[in-house]
């Protein structure tokens, strides 16, 4: 289990569905998600609120709210996590898969000094002796760039600033040396100058430690510098995936293109994608936007979920949801537009 073959994916997710029951009907948070994470790669997961990007990984980690049910498959080193017992999950969570969430204040225990919270990771998961764990905790705090680490161990979360707390979260996720680090909007609550510091830290985790990192963000800018591969999610499904450089240079799915145009419209330096079409002529001084609102997950639109907001929607798009089409090396796009032309190979779904 410690030495995976480099060819075998670390994490293999197949046709994952997650539903939440509620008084106004079921919320379809994740609707058939399939992807793989290889050892050592950094994958950016981009989507707007309600796109299912967080719930996909909460499902995999068995951390759904009580009214949530996941089905499908998620294998970590060949071991099934969906429906697994807490015993199995507890061996994986924290030890083999580390997590960092958006708000460090709600993830840290306010009653315990951070040293105790850090050493617990080792004494529980790795059966390390208390004294050694304390040494390792001070080491890891200095790795994540906290000044005077031994003194920090005695402090409580409220005594630290937001950036320092997020560094502690990164330290907690790293201390058991997990193979996969899942960072869910790790910098969204931080100021830009501190965000730059935390992103640099995550970059070094991927590069220097050769760990797999999943970076979940609503911001293409945040993932641009780190991700080797990108997954774009909308309404609980992956609409496009591919190597970061290719996907940024020439996004294929109409949603990716539109979302990227929104982001880049604000950033003159980023430049528009090479084939950047904005579907509609914009009045001068106007920013590209996507008309309408993200869908209500209780009442998903017919056919393709993006169809009501898509400038290129056809009658076909109302009939059924598109499958994944291969659109280049290691690239998939779930859009019927890819079907026209000569040989758009249909990728067998699951």
């Amino acid at each position: 289990m410690e030495n995976p073959s480099p060819l075998e994916p670390l994490l293999k997710v197949k046709d994952l569905h997650t539903k939440f029951t509620g008084p106004d009907g079921d919320v379809n948070a994740v609707n058939g998600v399939t992807f793989e994470i290889k050892a050592g790669e950094t994958v950016g997961v981009v989507g707007e609120s309600g796109s299912g990007k967080s719930q996909t990984f909460m499902s995999i980690l068995g951390l759904l709210a009580r009214n949530g049910v996941a089905s499908g498959s998620a294998e970590f080193h060949g071991e099934e996590l969906i429906g697994a017992s807490n015993r199995t999950l507890n061996k994986v969570r924290g030890r083999a898969i580390g997590t960092i969430f958006q708000d460090p204040m709600t993830s840290l225990n306010p009653y315990l000094p951070i040293g105790r919270q850090l050493t617990e990771m080792l004494t529980v998961h790795r059966k390390v002796k208390a004294k050694e764990a304390r040494y390792a905790a001070a080491q890891i705090l200095s790795t994540v760039g906290l000044p005077d680490p031994s003194a920090q161990l005695r402090r409580y979360p409220h005594q630290l600033s937001g950036g320092m707390r997020q560094r502690v979260m990164v330290a907690m996720a790293l201390i058991a040396d997990p193979e996969l680090l899942i960072a869910d909007e790790p910098t969204t609550a931080l100021d830009v100058t501190v965000q730059a510091q935390i992103l640099e830290l995550l970059r070094s985790v991927g590069r220097d430690r050769h760990r797999s990192v999943i970076l979940i963000s609503h911001d293409f800018g945040v993932v641009a510098g780190l991700a080797d591969r990108i997954l774009v999610m909308y309404a609980g499904a992956i609409v496009e995936q591919g190597p970061a450089a290719d996907l940024f240079r020439a996004p294929r799915h109409p949603y990716t293109r539109a979302l990227m145009a929104c982001t880049r419209g604000l950033d003159p330096e980023a430049g528009l994608p090479a084939d950047g079409d904005l579907a509609v002529e914009l009045p001068p001084g106007h920013l590209p936007s996507i008309p309408g609102q993200p869908p209500d997950l209780r009442r998903l639109p017919m056919g393709c979920a993006f169809q009501p907001r898509c400038a290129q929607a056809r009658a076909r798009c109302l009939l059924s949801a598109p499958e994944n089409y291969a659109v280049g090396p290691d690239r998939l796009s779930a859009c019927f537009l890819e079907r026209k032309g000569m040989a758009p190979k249909l990728v067998p779904s699951s």
Partner: protein
């Protein structure tokens, strides 16, 4: 200047704490705004952006300083006279759902400022103005009978904008109006604000932590740090040739959605975090994080001084 709308002189807002300590939220801030101008206000959390906005709106008493509104000092006005002036400056907030009363219909919500500030209007006049306003912010007439929770964040922000503009103000203070919205919806609201600014001859005081949003909206930009102005100038000069080390750091810290640019990124521009506003550093408040800080910066507070056409900087060693 004849088209001057507002002048703020040496504004200071301190929040007293126990003992003789105080939070220095806004410290000696002076600026002016012209009619139809958009002034962008950027800075990180805790730099005093929102306190300054609230002070301009007279929602926050000043510790000292003066606000001149269209030639009249607002501080000198009686509460009654101030109330009459309220029509002229309005505000929208970051969380649109939290700023709308959940028990009121959209029609009541949008009519409320009219009832308060133009009590002489007849009911049918109010109804006409409200339904006209709802159309101008891009909402269907059918929304009038519905409640805020039935709408998405972007639609709620449209309702907030309708509520602010229904009394036909001169100045709209926008405090992080799109930060809570999805990227695809942000642009809708920014476009709407620009359209309404042109059609209503509005001035905007536009606050955001997001430099790219401020770049798009503003004619001039003011950069705040720990309650003080670091740099203030016309948008293009300030962003294309920033003179203050903090402005430079803010610009280079913002991630750019292009891997080719991001991959060549060097070390993060600033170390550490914003110090506490309870005991701000002596001299220049930025010196504890400044790569150029020298002896002098610990002693002298740099004045905001002109450093080129339409550009002012508060730094002893500008770039």
């Amino acid at each position: 200047m004849s088209d001057q709308l507002l002048a703020a002189r040496h504004l200071r807002v301190l929040f007293p704490l126990k003992g003789d300590q105080a939070v220095h939220a806004v410290d000696d801030v002076s600026f002016s705004m012209r009619e139809r101008e958009t002034l962008g206000l950027v800075g990180e959390s805790g730099c005093g952006k929102s306190t300054l906005a609230r002070a301009i709106m007279h929602l926050q008493p000043l510790t000292s300083g003066q606000i001149i509104w269209r030639g009249v000092s607002l501080n000198a006005l009686k509460p009654r006279e101030l109330h009459d002036r309220r029509r002229e400056f309005q505000m929208i907030f970051q969380d649109p759902l939290a700023s709308l009363n959940p028990r009121m219909t959209v029609a009541t919500l949008v009519a409320e400022p009219l009832r308060a500030l133009r009590p002489n209007l007849r009911a049918e006049e109010v109804r006409d103005i409200v339904s006209n306003m709802i159309g101008r912010v891009g909402l269907e007439p059918s929304t009038l009978d519905r409640y805020p929770h039935e709408f998405s964040g972007g639609q709620c922000q449209r309702i907030s904008i309708a509520r602010a503009l229904v009394v036909d103000p001169k100045l709209l203070v926008c405090d992080e109006p799109v930060s809570a919205l999805d990227v695809s919806v942000q642009a809708q609201i920014l476009n709407l604000l620009k359209e309404l600014q042109a059609s209503h001859d509005l001035s905007l005081l536009f606050i955001s932590h997001d430099l790219s949003v401020v770049r798009h909206m503003s004619d001039r930009i003011m950069v705040l740090y720990l309650g003080r102005i670091m740099e203030f100038g016309s948008r293009d000069r300030l962003l294309d040739s920033p003179r203050h080390p903090y402005t430079r750091a803010l610009i280079s810290a913002a991630p750019i959605p292009n891997p080719e640019i991001e991959r060549t990124r060097r070390a993060p521009p600033l170390k550490g975090e914003v110090p506490s506003p309870i005991d701000p550093p002596s001299g220049c408040v930025f010196r504890t994080r400044c790569p150029k800080a020298a002896e002098r910066c610990t002693v002298d507070v740099p004045d905001l001084r002109p450093i080129g056409p339409g550009q002012n900087v508060a730094c002893h060693f500008p770039n």
